[in-house]
């Protein structure tokens, strides 16, 4: 046993550290297409103090530390590129406080979306959070760190926009509170009216610190949720349709799906609209708003609402949606990955054309899902392709297609969401040089020894 292993065992207890081959193998990869790289140690802290001690140890020994939630980004963001200590946050899974009146929750760094959802359903059924469509084991912190989206993103922006405070172990091991909680016992604001320092940690993929607590805004959980489905076969109309729906400020969620299979989806852009209400009148009013908003497309016969029978609704309303999992199993060998640029909605037709072009060029099965963000300021557009894990050639073809999709997204003025290390380089190459310089200065300040998830957001 190395000294580091023993030191880690002393910090967290011997049952919560491993340098066994099996653990190192599993923690060295994610379900996506980035090449694996194993850590030397896997450790599962239980407290903030333990995280602090581990980071201090890593600084002392100059070994990398990679904080990890469920590892579901698919873009290899928690693959330890330079080995070191893999910090699995799953044991820090408590819900520390729900402030019903101010509408926020404080969770530990490894708390999952499933845990929060079930807690709210049981104890605060009038409140909800923005549930992403990733598997329910996705952690709240990791989802915020990658600027994830969820079922409330159309109304309230990225899930990271809903953060209301952080507790962070800096790259030096120091502990720091961010937001109103830095000066108050309340976690209602991530910054305003003070400088917003959450930007030093959100979007950095753990390269500036380890988030050990997070405040997240909660929203009213309306008594009724219902699903509507609008179809059009014209990609050029989709941006206007989504924008108009967004600007009603009435829709919970707006997502356009496009795929050649199942056959009922083929040839159309299938726009799912979720409406909510506390009364039948409220739901009916919103339903009417959706109809009125899209009436011109209905009259021209370019678009129409599909009747959604009762047996179809539970699947459409499910949080998280199971569609992604089903899609992942389309190809034998069950693999899929997507590039999900954030881009203006107006780019939808160009992105659809590229999605199909790449699928045809690389002989891939494809699907796309585009979610409206924050009323229509932007959307997340996914280029999704499936592969067979037992067929290396199919994996190479998907990776090549996704690389091209990322290049294309940047050319079109989009920004790559949760970019892998290659895509991060693409982004940084295009970035304003002074912005990049500022990023690197901040990084150096917060992580002077360069031990935090190295390989990510590295300019050199």
């Amino acid at each position: 046993m190395s000294d580091i292993h023993e030191d880690l065992a002393r910090i967290v207890g011997k049952n919560w550290v491993s340098s066994q081959k099996e653990e190192r193998y599993l923690y060295g990869r994610d379900p996506g297409l980035m090449p694996p790289h194993e850590p030397e140690y896997v450790v599962m802290p239980k407290t903030t103090e333990e995280v602090q001690e581990i980071v201090k140890l890593a600084n002392r020994e100059k070994v990398p530390v990679v904080p990890k939630g469920a590892g579901l980004s698919l873009t290899g963001l928690v693959i330890p590129q330079r080995g070191g200590i893999l910090l699995d946050m799953k044991r820090m899974d408590k819900i520390l406080e729900v402030n019903d009146k101010a509408g926020y929750v404080i969770v530990e760094g490894g708390t999952t979306h499933a845990t929060l959802k079930s807690h709210l359903m049981k104890h605060y059924p009038h409140l909800r959070h923005s549930m992403p469509d990733s598997p329910p084991i996705a952690t709240i912190v990791a989802n915020a760190v990658i600027h994830g989206q969820g079922r409330l993103t159309q109304q309230h922006g990225f899930n990271s926009d809903m953060v209301s405070g952080l507790e962070v172990v800096l790259g030096t091991g120091e502990l720091c509170r961010i937001g109103s909680c830095a000066v108050s016992q309340y976690w209602f604001s991530k910054g305003p009216p003070m400088p917003d320092l959450t930007g030093l940690f959100l979007g950095w993929f753990g390269t500036t610190g380890v988030i050990t607590k997070l405040g997240m805004k909660l929203y009213p959980c309306k008594k009724i949720r219902d699903a509507m489905m609008f179809l059009t076969d014209r990609a050029d109309l989709v941006p206007d349709i989504m924008r108009k729906l967004g600007r009603t400020e009435m829709m919970e969620d707006i997502v356009s799906s496009f795929a050649p299979l199942p056959l009922r989806l083929k040839g159309n852009f299938n726009i799912l609209i979720i409406i909510t209400g506390d009364s039948e009148e409220e739901v009916e009013f919103k339903r009417k708003m959706a109809w009125d908003t899209l009436w011109e497309y209905f009259e021209s016969r370019d678009g129409g609402f599909l009747s959604v029978p009762p047996d179809m609704k539970p699947a459409l309303l499910a949080m998280p949606s199971k569609d992604t999992t089903r899609f992942a199993d389309t190809s034998k060998g069950g693999g899929f990955e997507y590039s999900g640029p954030i881009t203006p909605i107006e780019k939808y037709p160009e992105f659809i054309a590229k999605l199909e072009e790449l699928a045809s060029k690389y002989k891939l099965f494809y699907a796309s899902s585009a979610r409206v963000i924050d009323g229509g300021h932007s959307m997340m557009f996914s280029f999704s392709y499936t592969f067979n894990r037992a067929d290396p050639d199919s994996m190479v073809r998907v990776k090549t297609a996704l690389d091209e999709a990322a290049e294309f997204a940047l050319e079109q003025g989009g920004v790559i969401w949760k970019p892998n290390i290659d895509e991060q380089k693409m982004v940084m190459e295009r970035m304003d040089p002074n912005t990049l310089k500022l990023m690197m200065k901040l990084k150096e300040l917060l992580d002077p020894n360069g031990i935090m998830n190295p390989g990510n957001w590295e300019a050199k």
Partner: protein, 357 residues
């Protein structure tokens, strides 16, 4: 190319023009109807081709069996008139296209057709189907395709139907019990109108149920309830089957309420109207229909068609009426469990209302 057997001389001699005068969704007096119908015959653009809600009723109203509705559908397609938004039509055409995937049970000379409706996997259980199940077929390859009448796509029906008939015949089936009303309508009405030979005997499932109930008579416990019957669009292609509703109800002690919107005057479930004309007319039709059920004291609403059930189930329940499919009604009458109960998860507004109580 398959041609519609339509005799314009029958229309020339027709004084009543019932096809249009009786229409519940377009308002015509006899004189206007005569002029308008002549335009349809002559292939001219006219109001009928745009305003038709595709309820199929004129097929029943025509006393000569001259297929006025099929002619309307042909004309709509010729003129590129879209009774529903184009993407909705595309969705239907794609969804049900034969792709070589189907399911068959232990098929014998007499078999059940589930058409392409998975609901029958739940419904077909118990004594009513002893002796025939698992002789069954299911899938796009056996889908009757009548739904395209709603979408001005007679060409799709003409293209696919002969192959569908062939697929069924290839299974060695001599008698096909059509659990989907539209299948029976397709094989006995559309096929006939276009000269498509059907080498097996279609049996309407109401006839089958009626015969089975007679065999199981000793087990019937009369339900002693009043029920509204929801007629469906394809029933208009085969009005000769309507008496089976009364026959079955008679066997199991159900009174078919004599309401305004039954029989020839029945109202469409209106979901197609919603997709083609919008919510205003659809909501009005559904409201009048359900109000009528309430007014005449119906305790149950009995459905033939799965789509009608989906369309009206919530509104019917909100009116305090129990929705039930004909197969389930018969099961309950012989002491068996109802297979398909309304799933509240799919009706969030109603669910919230019930939880609120």
């Amino acid at each position: 190319m398959l041609e519609l057997k339509f005799d314009k001389s029958k229309c020339a001699d027709c004084k009543a023009v019932s096809c249009l005068v009786k229409c519940q969704y377009m308002d015509f007096d006899k004189d206007t109807a005569k002029v308008e119908w002549q335009k349809v015959i002559d292939g001219e653009d006219c109001r009928v081709l745009h305003d038709c809600v595709t309820c199929y009723s004129c097929e029943e109203y025509c006393p000569f069996g001259n297929h006025p509705f099929y002619l309307i559908v042909e004309r709509q397609e010729e003129k590129g008139i879209l009774p529903a938004p184009r993407p909705v039509i595309t969705m239907w055409i794609n969804q049900c296209q034969p792709v070589g995937r189907f399911m068959v049970g232990k098929v014998e000379e007499k078999a059940l057709s589930y058409c392409f409706l998975p609901i029958f996997n739940e419904l077909v259980k118990g004594k009513l189907f002893d002796g025939i199940w698992p002789s069954m077929i299911f899938g796009q390859e056996f889908f009757c395709n009548a739904v395209y009448l709603h979408y001005a796509r007679m060409s799709v029906i003409k293209d696919r139907l002969p192959k569908i008939v062939e697929n069924i015949a290839k299974q060695g089936i001599k008698e096909l019990v059509c659990l989907h009303d539209e299948c029976y309508g397709t094989f006995t009405s559309i096929a006939l109108a276009y000269g498509i030979e059907v080498p097996f005997k279609p049996i309407h499932y109401y006839e089958y149920l009626h015969d089975r109930l007679k065999e199981l008579k000793a087990e019937i416990k009369p339900l002693n309830v009043k029920a509204a019957y929801q007629r469906n669009c394809s029933a208009r292609l085969i009005p000769e089957t309507d008496h089976f509703v009364d026959d079955i109800f008679g066997l199991i002690g159900v009174e078919r309420v004599k309401r305004e919107y039954d029989g020839e005057n029945g109202l469409c479930c209106a979901e197609l109207i919603r997709m083609s004309k919008g919510p205003k007319l659809a909501d009005d039709v559904q409201k009048r229909n359900v109000d009528d059920m309430v007014k005449f004291g119906a305790e149950y609403c009995v459905f033939n068609c799965p789509a009608c059930y989906d369309s009206l189930v919530e509104r019917v329940m909100r009116a305090g009426i129990k929705p039930i499919r004909m197969i389930d009604l018969c099961k309950v009458a012989i002491g068996e469990e109802q297979s398909q109960k309304p799933a509240l998860e799919g009706m969030p507004v109603l669910k919230a209302a019930m939880e609120g109580k």
